[in-house]
Symmetry: C2
Subunit: 133 residues, 2 copies
């Protein structure tokens, strides 16, 4: 199945929420309650987005998150990569995977699959979060 993970789904909802609450800090609790997203999971996602410099965070009481980039500067492709890891539609295309797919020799479809991969990548690279808010 070809799916957008919950992480990315929640991230999109959170980014929308935060970007619409401009100029004030938004807490994870607030988003979690309002959007019915599991708090702990959401926290992880926001932390990640903070580490990736998409969000700014303020710790402590009265803390919260705010945008660090404009929504049209955040690419869906990058969001997916940071939350779900590498985007490889087939194992043999995963660069990490110490390659050497055991089917290497017998695999007859690598080249067209690679092309398909590129097309999907481009689809995601051409979308920014502004398309979702």
């Amino acid at each position: 199945m070809i799916r957008i993970s919950k992480k990315v789904e929640y991230a999109l909802m959170a980014l929308k929420f935060i970007s619409e609450s401009d100029n004030r800090l938004v807490t994870a609790r607030e988003i979690s309650d309002s959007k019915k997203i599991p708090y702990d999971l959401l926290s992880k996602i926001l932390q990640k987005l903070k580490n990736e410099e998409i969000l700014l965070s303020n710790q402590g009481s009265n803390g919260g998150y705010s945008m660090n980039k404009r929504t049209d500067e955040i690419y869906l492709y990058n969001l997916m990569s940071m939350l779900d890891g590498e985007i490889a539609i087939a194992d043999c295309l995963a660069e990490s995977k110490d390659k050497d797919c055991c089917l290497e020799d017998s695999c007859s479809i690598k080249s067209p699959i690679t092309k398909l991969q590129k097309e999907i990548e481009n689809l995601f690279k051409n979308k920014t979060i502004s398309d979702f808010v």
Copy 2:
């Protein structure tokens, strides 16, 4: 992660193999050995393709499979649907899923996700197996 399942990967390899062995029956064992695909799994896939009228089969000894459609008549989208089930990039878009996603009210991104879904669908609907053989 966005992935093509092994089932689809194996199906593509098998269809390529069969379509290149024209005019003779190809056995599951033959493909399995030659392409290093688990026999039982491949069998299931070929049976499915037969039931979906993409392949023809002959039972009994000297039996095997042959193509029932031209490769350019088989759409990647359909192949994926029949082997992996519905292609829905997010739960809320799955028609089966008795809909009523519990986030329904709070979900703020359904419309752009739907658009993305359509784009991905079109990508797969515009590819036929002939692109892979």
